[in-house]
Symmetry: C2
Subunit: 358 residues, 2 copies
Amino acid sequence: MMKKLINNPDDIVRESLEGMAIAHSDLIKVHLDPDFIYRADAPIKNKVAVISGGGSGHEPMHGGFVGDGMLDAACPGQVFTSPTPDQMLEAAKQVHGGVGVLNIVKNYSGDVMNFEMAAELTVSEGIPVRNILIDDDVAVKDSLYTQGRRGVGVTVLVEKICGAAAAVGYPLNQLADLCRKVNLNGRSMGMALTSCTTPAKGSPTFNLGDNEIEVGIGIHGEPGRERLPLKPADEITEMLALSIIDDPAYSRTVREWDETKGDWIELELTDPTFQTGDSVLAFVNSMGGTPVSELYIVYRKLTEICEQKGLKIVRNLVGPYITSLDMQGCSITLLKLDDELIKLWDAPVKTPALRWGR
Amino acid sequence: MMKKLINNPDDIVRESLEGMAIAHSDLIKVHLDPDFIYRADAPIKNKVAVISGGGSGHEPMHGGFVGDGMLDAACPGQVFTSPTPDQMLEAAKQVHGGVGVLNIVKNYSGDVMNFEMAAELTVSEGIPVRNILIDDDVAVKDSLYTQGRRGVGVTVLVEKICGAAAAVGYPLNQLADLCRKVNLNGRSMGMALTSCTTPAKGSPTFNLGDNEIEVGIGIHGEPGRERLPLKPADEITEMLALSIIDDPAYSRTVREWDETKGDWIELELTDPTFQTGDSVLAFVNSMGGTPVSELYIVYRKLTEICEQKGLKIVRNLVGPYITSLDMQGCSITLLKLDDELIKLWDAPVKTPALRWGR
């Protein structure tokens, strides 16, 4: 029997959005049918609007990141299901401040397709749009719902950094370049101690033995690199961290909307690899069911490994920010920083889930 | 087999503290043996030092609440085990700013006894001390580890409010009065969907059937009021909320240190009950394993019930703040507010787990 604090499984996204809107009415509003969360003070005139979205079940991402200094709107699908193009279109119309919209899109086939359709619809309304793809998960190439690498932890960081950049007046093209750069500079890998249980299915999404972990898991329970016997936290941390740090340069072709051509173009992009001496942001994330006390044990070991590898952790984030319902486990994200990114990371932010400096 | 991100179970408190100290070195420092977390900039001269502590396993409470505008120090015991008097004594000596120490003590027999011993030791070092008891859990009177009511969710709120009051210069006696008032003004009740698993035992602390919930659970898995079949979130929310709102006045005798007599005195204290027209802070807390999306479903229903009962929710807190390891479930706390408490709640705070306004 599924044990969750829910009513009818069909109502959980709407009821959760309604509760969130009441709890944070100073920061956000919720539009239902089509569903999107938006800044209470939107549109912000002459600021590029930053929009993201994706399946529900990863809270606080994305709705918890709507507010001053981060997202203008977030479009939640049903649990682990892509939002539809009308959500992104209506959100764009609601929050557009006159100088365009940046869509931050995690690399899942449904999200990519629907955000591309949304971009075309939005452009046809006379609103300039850029879609930038996030594909930072080093675990596997091509997965259950993905061509190429999945978009995971870097999404949180990119939403903070691009939100800050939009707030200080980056124009759309520069903001798209920044978003692409953050994605290329960041890498992630996760692991699961347990499965998650979706409300629609009501039973665990996949089966893990009592003594098994899945290393390289996706945020919907997609298979990772390997299934291993349970190990001490330090060994798990080392596996994840070294997979990220030692990963060779990764090349992929992405589609982006070209405003001047009025059509999609293809770009060939390659990551920079981590180098001794790099400054990084280290992000240790809970998959949902893992308590923060265990994340600090992972963070402790991660700092040792980064030091051995010559990486200097100059900023960090530890907590549940991109989750998989009740899954136990964690992910690690490392993001190579420069002065621009540090300044934007440190800028004030005021959202339900991330707040500092103001 | 116990699935956690830990190394040797004996090391988890120390390793977690070390990771936390590295992650938040701008805010806190950690002293080991005896263990306590303290403000990086302590002692703050001429400010009353606010200290709390208790068993580990309830993170982010208390260590996550150390910082500007909240606690000066937190003393963590082993998991679900009281800290020892030498921890509180050494913490007091480290953070004492010359005008006394307020100890915020959750009502568990071990905590009460050890904080009383600590108070006597601290007084003998020439440091004025007040211990104030938190006992807000309406579920049961006398429990596995408690005489009277257990101390739960109000602890988080009292630490924020008293931390803010200390920061603006409340002297020790006035701060103790405020702390006592917040405790009397607040009430909580929790429920569990699942048990938690302590690292020492390695298996669930108690057994709940596949279709059972425990209503009135304690934060260490202590038995609640009743075991019931699983219900929709709205019904569970209504049970918890009405238990809190309709609870009759509760009287108890508490022991407090009397500085002028140099001895313990007994005080008879009675709660005010909730009345139509009251302004309240509504706090929906995750027991650890329950995702924030479900907390918003609970919060949504809670606002309906409060409205029906004539209570005006003017502030709220939704998230995992006083947890029981990986337990799934939630608790609700309502705190009657007045202008003084609202002002102190809104004051800036900068800690690992709560941060706003600065």
